[in-house]
């Protein structure tokens, strides 16, 4: 389905505002949240915008209930979203697992701030990358998208809704305080393509809520439309009913992963820049990806053959794409605003074909273009 967008010309938009615009373009009609810096602008815009699109917005009592409310709304047929930051994201872990297990589409935005604990509410960080992957207990699939600009926040919010609906799974949009708060000139697309969940076409009495198609994704019927069924976070069979049958449980968990792993081309997105002749590549995402791009451009002016690989999809990790870069270059610099969360994944993907080094920053200051330019110059000097 194609949705037209009315948005005359280029405008100065804040990242958190672009997230709301992307959600509405995607058909979001339910927002449940709990205010927390630096994501609160999303709640503030949502409470104004939702009524205008026939949707509902509610401020819940905490982040646990915020995610629960959107899961309830999604089961009722809504396209639902919540947004939070660090401490609230910790509280949401319980229901991220529930949404993955019960296969309830929803979008969770985490505007990362400095941690651990209450940390630095108004400072940026990329400290939640591993939590977004592994924060909830048990083996579960995870789709995590990381925009690097205000325009990309819009695009990836749409993509987050589409992937959530396509695969019946929670999707996490992960960006930092800088992307959330910065205002940028943005030209929105004239239209976006929107994917809706598949609804069942079999007769009412033959419907089982967890009978998957060959793709591994079961059709989804909203509560109240005549198909009566059970939804549970316990391991369950095709009827959605709890089971202790280990073979059934294993098949379920494997299917939850397979439905995404078999369609990585639909999920994984990577920007590659000046890599063809590169000796050194920076691996960076989110705001650091933009520092890296500027650093690469400046380094090129100084004759350094530098390039950039910037994942827009952090999870599932773009292993094949990183492996390809590792075959081309001598060195990969992994730059992150944390103490080293994705560098291990890069090493795993590179399999020793390129040297992997880290440039890390924590405490609330971003990794700057100048800092990365110096790193590139040093590596180039060392190799000369």
């Amino acid at each position: 389905m194609t949705i037209q967008i009315t948005m005359p010309g280029e405008k100065l938009i804040q990242g958190n505002e672009a997230c709301v615009m992307g959600a509405i373009a995607s058909g979001c009609n339910f927002y449940g949240g709990y205010p927390i810096t630096p994501s609160s602008e999303i709640a503030e815009h949502m409470v104004r915008r939702m009524p205008k699109v026939g949707g509902v917005s509610i401020q819940m009592e905490d982040e646990i209930s915020a995610l629960a409310s959107i899961i309830g709304a999604s089961l009722a047929g809504s396209k639902a979203m919540t947004a939070t930051s660090g401490p609230g994201f910790s509280l949401m872990q319980e229901h991220i697992g529930f949404a993955a297990m019960a296969e309830v589409p929803c979008v969770i935005v985490n505007v990362m701030r400095g941690g651990p604990s209450t940390g630095m509410p108004t400072s940026p960080s990329q400290g939640d990358v591993m939590q977004a992957r592994w924060g909830t207990h048990g083996d579960h699939p995870a789709i995590v998208l990381a925009p690097a600009s205000v325009g990309e926040v819009f695009d990836l919010t749409v993509k987050a809704f589409n992937l959530a609906e396509r695969f019946r799974t929670p999707v996490i949009l992960l960006y930092d305080e800088i992307i959330g708060h910065t205002r940028e000139s943005v030209s929105l697309p004239e239209s976006v393509t929107v994917i809706d969940r598949v609804t069942p076409d079999d007769a009412l009495e033959e419907f089982w809520p967890k009978e998957a198609d060959p793709d591994g994704v079961p059709a989804m019927s909203p509560f109240g439309d005549g198909r009566r069924f059970h939804v549970t976070g316990l391991a369950h069979d095709h009827r959605g009913f709890p089971t202790n049958d280990t073979a059934v449980a294993e098949a379920l968990i494997n299917r939850l992963h397979r439905k995404i792993d078999a369609h990585l081309d639909e999920v994984i997105e990577v920007e590659e820049y000046l890599l063809d002749d590169a000796d050194v590549a920076i691996f960076a995402y989110g705001i650091v990806g933009r520092s890296a791009k500027l650093a690469v451009e400046r380094a090129r002016l100084n004759g350094i053959k530098a390039g950039l690989i910037r994942p827009l999809t952090l999870w599932p990790f773009p292993t094949a794409q990183v492996a390809e870069v590792a075959r081309k270059v001598d060195t990969i610099v992994v730059a992150e605003m944390n103490l080293g969360q994705l560098v291990g994944e890069v090493e795993r993907a590179a399999k020793g074909q390129a040297e992997v080094v880290s440039h890390l920053r924590t405490g609330g200051e971003p990794v700057t273009p100048t800092a990365l330019e110096e790193v590139l110059a040093k590596i180039d000097g060392g190799n000369a």
């Binding site: 509902v56 999604s74 009722a76 059970h230």
Partner: protein, 294 residues
């Protein structure tokens, strides 16, 4: 002393008599039987009373959504042939809030227990009550954590034995109805599982109430509470509950009944019946039709 309002009787429009009890099997997922409840557990009586209320009110089976948390009571959601959501521990009112706001045409029923609803989920319960979300909450209070093996609950009476209170529980218990009245629930009632006819009546009343209806069903746990506290099996426990209902030997609200713990002089006994009823605006969220909180 207590300031609990008493003797506010249900406004009954439909009489239910023992001879008219309905065949409720059409509301059950018979393929999901046998159920997990223990012999002597009164939760089944509560469920039957609820299904009779649904039948008496002729509610549309397709439009009932039952939302449950974790625990013995919450397992009831698996056996009823409605749209059912078995969520996470204590969070049922939060799931139900989203469900109700997204689909106001649904009859949303939360089924929870004393541990689920008053310990881990206490926050969600009081906020759903405060907002006056149009839902009916059935809190089955068996005074203990049954499913996990008899640990102490926030309703376990002072002095009672639990697996995590082998010498007798040292904490006072919650009075669920007082808590919910304080939170602003527009309908609060307590009924005892030993009295199924009244359960059905009060559930019909609660299901018909516009707004947040909270009904505490005083149930039993013969397997753990009854055994640990030497009360006996199902019949003995129901009898014990019935005695409490009469307000004869230590009102339940005082939560004290074991002899070696000093018992305060009984205040006015909290008995079964409707304890609070008011009509106030039902929360519909911030949505287009109203444009405002309603």
């Amino acid at each position: 002393m207590t300031d609990v309002k008493i003797d506010i009787q249900p406004d009954m429009t439909t009489e239910v008599t023992a001879t008219e009890r309905a065949d409720v099997r059409s509301y059950l997922r018979q393929w999901a039987m046998p159920h997990v409840l223990c012999p002597g557990c009164a939760h089944g009586i509560v469920l039957r009373s609820f299904l009779e209320a649904v039948d008496q009110l002729q509610l549309d089976q397709d439009k009932i959504a039952m939302v449950a948390g974790i625990g013995c009571s919450s397992r009831l959601a698996g056996y009823v042939d409605f749209c059912t959501l078995h969520g996470t521990h204590g969070r049922a009112p939060a799931f139900a809030t989203g469900l109700k706001l997204a689909r106001p045409d649904l009859n949303v029923v939360v089924v929870t227990g004393d541990g689920d609803g008053l310990a881990i989920g206490g926050n969600h319960l009081i906020h759903a009550a405060r907002r006056n979300i149009d839902m009916t909450v059935l809190l089955l209070n068996n005074s203990i954590y049954g499913m996990t093996g008899g640990q102490a609950a926030p309703t376990t009476p002072e002095g009672a034995i639990a697996s995590t209170a082998p010498q007798g529980h040292i904490e006072p218990g919650f009075d669920a109805c007082k808590l919910l009245m304080g939170a602003g629930a527009s309908y609060v009632a307590r009924v005892f599982a030993a009295n199924p006819i009244e359960m059905t009546k009060v559930m019909m009343d609660g299901l018909s109430h516009p707004g947040f209806a909270f009904i505490e069903l005083v149930s039993d746990c013969p397997e753990y509470f009854g055994r640990y506290n030497k009360i006996g099996g199902g019949p003995e426990m129901l009898n014990w509950i019935a005695v409490r209902d009469e307000g004869i030997a230590g009102p339940l609200s005082e939560k004290r009944f074991v002899e070696h713990i000093p018992v305060k002089p009984p205040a006015i006994g909290v008995k079964s019946g409707v304890l609070q009823r008011e009509i106030r605006p039902v929360y519909a969220g911030v949505r287009a039709a109203e444009g405002q909180h309603t």
